[in-house]
């Protein structure tokens, strides 16, 4: 492309006639491999450039806003995009979340922005090492009478954010993931492992496949169990999927409107901030600088919602404790909803960490289990009741019966009905926090670090015949 993203952003701002303008240019590239039954199924590479123009117009005391995002903008058509955005802002009624756009002073503490640098990219060569290793794993699986399924994807996105108020911000976000699933040829026995990575240099697919093969051996003995409440060990991936849903539901505005699990009881219009919701010592937080989970240190919002505002673009993001020592500390706010609810300004951050003070590995926790279930991961998680944040979903790819500290066989899958919020106060033991790939939500959210959790009475509502 002849026009650089920085030039595009400057041209858009030069053409803009609105009272305020935010331009975001996302330069992205991605490569993927997918396989099933020990062979490749699909693959691909793609590059994309998306330009978002947010226009704001003064309306009396407030302002209206509209955002348009367009792919394939070449440069000559950037002015058309600006005009479309401005026309949409004129048609829009005043936005309740209107606030002055942020300027350079508001983001002064941001380090290492390097606005002038080119975007980072990726291509199919990122798998030059993985592809032969996968081939080797397929061979090993074939000789062991097993099948491998899975997916590897690497994406690089560089976001340039410029405002008519003088902000110039840039963020590089590499995201890589590998999912591996081993099965017996009859599909009855199944195990899963995943990894998240920034560049695939730290992914050892051969070792991961070997571990899954061992789990298939654990599954030679099958034990049928009925529905019921069981002492259950949830591995970090399963905990991540439950906590991500909790995080997505943590809008301060929705809570203050009386319509979420975080609403204060009694219809008072308040929230549960300040109340104990988890066991002592429990911390749930996000931090753009978390090692290995680095995420954008500023707000880049392409569409307003109850927890994000296009007016807040460029806002600096800092480490935020959502739950500290078991007490709900913060909910997701915009500058507007923070003022409305009396809470601090704490926008969403693209990672999530949980620590409950544990140091044990999942293996150690299994060894100290007298009688319980060891899960692999959860699947098809959906909200059943927003009042309690009751979620339903399935266990998947290996539920193990543990007796006297040892895995004694594989159990049928279950449908669970559980609230992650309620669960926070019922944690019997937590393991050490480690970086993990959420199985269910990794299309949308990958950067998590979670401990394994022991819950004494996890609600397995019915038996699933699925394997």
């Amino acid at each position: 492309m002849s026009v650089t993203p920085q030039q595009l952003a400057e041209r858009a701002l030069a053409a803009a006639k609105a009272d305020g303008t935010v331009v975001m240019v996302d330069e992205s590239s991605t490569a993927n491999l997918r396989w099933a039954n020990n062979t490749l199924t699909t693959n691909g590479v793609a590059v994309n450039r998306r330009v978002t123009v947010v226009s704001t117009l003064k309306r009396g005391e407030g302002a209206s806003a509209a955002a348009i995002t367009k792919a394939g903008v070449t440069g000559d058509d950037i002015e058309d995009l600006v005009r479309e955005s401005e026309a949409a802002a004129r048609a829009a009624s005043p936005a309740p979340d209107a606030r002055p756009l942020l300027g350079p002073d508001d983001a002064a503490a941001l380090q290492g922005v390097r606005w002038e640098e080119a975007a980072v990219g990726t291509d199919i060569e990122v798998f030059a090492g993985l592809a032969p290793a996968l081939g080797e794993s397929f061979e090993a699986a074939r000789s062991a009478g097993q099948l491998l399924f899975g997916f590897a994807e690497h994406t690089a996105v560089t976001t340039y954010l410029a405002t008519s108020t003088g902000l110039r911000l840039r963020h590089d976000q590499p995201t890589g993931k590998l999912e591996l699933n081993a099965k017996t040829p009859d599909f009855v026995r199944s195990s899963w492992g995943g990894a998240q990575t920034r560049d695939f240099s730290d992914v050892d697919v051969v070792a991961l496949a070997a571990g899954l093969g061992q789990r298939l051996d654990w599954q030679k003995r099958r034990i049928d169990l009925p529905a019921g409440r069981y002492e259950t060990l949830l591995p970090p991936s399963a905990v991540a999927d439950l906590m991500i849903y909790l995080y997505w539901t943590a809008s301060a505005r929705d809570a203050a409107d009386g319509r979420t699990v975080f609403s204060a009881p009694g219809g008072s219009g308040g929230t549960k901030v300040g109340q104990r919701i988890g066991v002592p010592g429990l911390r749930l937080w996000s931090d753009p600088t978390a090692a290995g989970l680095e995420a954008a240190p500023f707000n880049a919002v392409k569409a307003s919602s109850s927890q994000s505002s296009v007016f807040d673009n460029g806002l600096r993001l800092a480490s935020t404790d959502w739950v500290r020592d078991g007490v709900l500390e913060r909910l997701l706010t915009t500058r507007h909803s923070a003022a409305e609810t009396g809470l601090p300004v704490t926008p969403p951050i693209d990672n999530l960490l949980l620590d409950a003070g544990g140091t044990a590995s999942l293996e150690t926790m299994t060894q100290s289990t007298a009688d319980g279930l060891l899960l692999t991961c959860l699947w098809y998680i959906r909200e059943v009741d927003p009042q309690t944040l009751l979620l339903t979903g399935l266990t998947r790819d290996g539920v193990y019966k543990v007796e006297g500290g040892e895995v004694v066989g594989v159990v049928n899958n279950f449908r669970f009905n559980e609230s992650p919020v309620d669960m926070l106060s019922r944690i019997a033991e937590a393991g050490r926090t480690e970086i993990t790939l959420p199985r269910e939500w990794n299309d949308y959210f990958t950067r998590t670090a979670m401990p394994a959790l022991r819950v004494a009475d996890f609600n397995m509502s019915s038996v699933s015949k699925a394997s």
Binding site: A36, L134, F138, N181, T388, D422
Partner: protein, 503 residues
């Protein structure tokens, strides 16, 4: 009759195709296709009658897919010039080369006649992108205010999502298609709060997403006035309703709820790529495996399910799929027996189903993604001369009548599912006896459809659906419709969701 958008057909589509396909032939591919797509989307959202946001996006780009020495290669970009198209062909071939060491099963596509140059436009009257934004905001705002006037309604969310999709496709087989589809989805959800306890309930409109234009918002194909007039009273009744007693009930399920159960337990289960394991690590597999074709008892004898990509206003409906296959209609379940699958060209060839021809289910959700097998409109057929909903209800002594979809979840082999709904009425001795709340129904697919005693007549049939069916890695989102009549099920397990939460 709407026609192809001239701003799309003004792109140098044929030049792109000629350059790309010539390069592909030169590089000795077995097959190559090129897609140029432009997908325009807009969402308008209001909260308590105030604008929450207007967002518009245009995704456009170019994709090349090749079969090179028996291995797939795919590359996509956003620059639409002949030079860029040629580069994509080179990249796609390179992707095939890097992938070759992990490919052990040569890709062969089912033959499809060349259809030559074809055009196709979906059935709609008013292009939603020709309607001024202020008119859209005013319409949703007016509707929201009307709901908020009711004392039971504390909050109202309103949104409309409109999509216009243009696709150009050309392949080495000589098929060249230019197509256009329009769809809209509008919904309003009201919230009621019990001020004394803080308990709350929600209720959403049942208007389905449709393959229509803005005329749908003006009353063509849906009675908005009647639905909005009834909604606050229904919500107030729900908030005050007794909590359901868990146990076994007979169910009369309304099409506004049943479409989603069909989607999850039949639609996905009859995708052959799932049955073959292509989705095993992600969306999952299927209990309805190929060895059970023509023998599996899927449900009761009154069960007749079709797949199609041809029904008017269907969300999956299109003239030609993303592999150049002309779309069709066929049986999936007849007389309660599994009789067919949804196919794309590779799996049709692999297993020789449908006479070795794809039934047109290849779909890519964007120019950046390769086509995979995606869902047709999978629909439960009504009984000719069949009963109305009231008559079905009259056959139930102790049961529930469920309307509107809400929560859904099903396992990775499509056995065990759990659904809730927007509202449910107790049925006592053949009559509705008021709403109950906190209900969910849980069953295993073949047990549930085996317990279907009767399907309603054509007068109860509604085409429901969704914009957001997810499948594949990288994740792809597809729109799909499901038509069905009301239907009567015997002896289904009903849970109380408050008890499930341990309260």
């Amino acid at each position: 009759m709407p026609s192809l958008d001239p701003t799309f057909t003004a792109l140098p589509l044929r030049e792109l195709a000629e350059a790309a396909l010539a390069k592909a032939r030169e590089l000795g591919v077995d097959h190559a296709d090129l897609r140029s797509e432009r997908i325009r989307e807009q969402s308008v959202r209001l909260r308590d009658a105030e604008l929450d946001g207007v967002n518009e996006s245009v995704d456009s780009g170019l994709a090349v897919r090749v079969v090179h020495r028996g291995t797939w290669g795919f590359a996509a970009g956003t620059v639409q010039t002949p030079e860029a198209a040629v580069r994509l062909v080179e990249q796609a071939v390179r992707v095939a080369e890097v992938s070759a060491p992990v490919n052990t099963e040569p890709v062969v596509l089912a033959p499809e006649p060349s259809h030559g140059e074809r055009e196709w436009v979906s059935a709609y009257e008013v292009d939603p992108f020709d309607v001024p934004d202020d008119e859209k905001i005013a319409l949703l705002g007016g509707w929201s205010k009307r709901l908020l006037e009711h004392e039971a309604v504390a909050h109202v969310d309103a949104y409309v999502h409109a999509v216009k999709e243009n696709k150009f496709y050309a392949d080495t087989n000589g098929t060249v298609t230019t197509q256009q589809r329009v769809r809209v989805h509008a919904a309003l959800e009201a919230v009621a709060i019990d001020e004394a306890t803080g308990a709350f309930e929600t209720m959403r409109t049942l208007a389905p997403p449709v393959g229509r234009g803005w005329e749908f918002l003006r009353g063509v194909g849906w009675d908005w006035e009647a639905e909005l007039a009834a909604l606050p009273g229904l919500l107030a009744e729900k908030l005050a309703a007794p909590s359901i007693e868990a146990g076994e009930y007979d169910l009369v399920v309304d099409p506004s709820n049943l479409w989603l159960t069909i989607h999850e337990s039949i639609g996905h289960a009859t995708e052959l790529d799932r049955a073959l394991g292509y989705e095993a690590a992600y969306a999952g597999t299927s209990f309805a495996t190929l060895d059970k074709l023509d023998t599996l008892k899927y449900g009761s004898p009154v069960m007749h399910v079709t797949g199609d990509r041809t029904v008017e206003h269907g969300l999956s409906t299109v003239g030609f799929d993303d592999e150049g296959v002309q779309t069709q209609q066929w049986d999936l379940v007849a007389g309660g027996i599994l009789t067919g699958y949804q196919l794309d060209r590779r799996i049709a060839q692999l297993k020789g189903l449908n006479g070795g021809r794809s039934n047109g289910c290849g779909f890519a959700d964007s120019p950046g993604h390769a086509p995979i097998q995606r869902m047709a409109n999978v629909s439960l057929q009504p009984a000719a001369e069949g009963p109305g909903t009231a008559e079905l209800i009259s056959r139930v002594k102790n049961g529930l009548y469920i309307q509107g979809d809400k929560s859904w979840s099903i396992d990775m082999q499509r056995y065990n599912f759990q659904f809730t709904g927007q509202r449910a009425y107790l049925i006592k001795d053949g009559r509705l006896a008021g709403q109950v709340k906190d209900f969910a129904y849980q069953a295993t697919t073949t047990d549930f459809w085996g317990a279907m005693e009767a399907v309603g007549g054509p007068q109860t049939y509604v085409l429901g659906g969704a914009f957001n069916c997810g499948k594949g890695q990288p994740g792809q989102v597809a729109p799909v419709s499901h038509g069905c009549p009301s239907a009567l099920f015997r002896g289904i397990r009903i849970l109380n969701t408050v008890q499930e939460a341990g309260k």
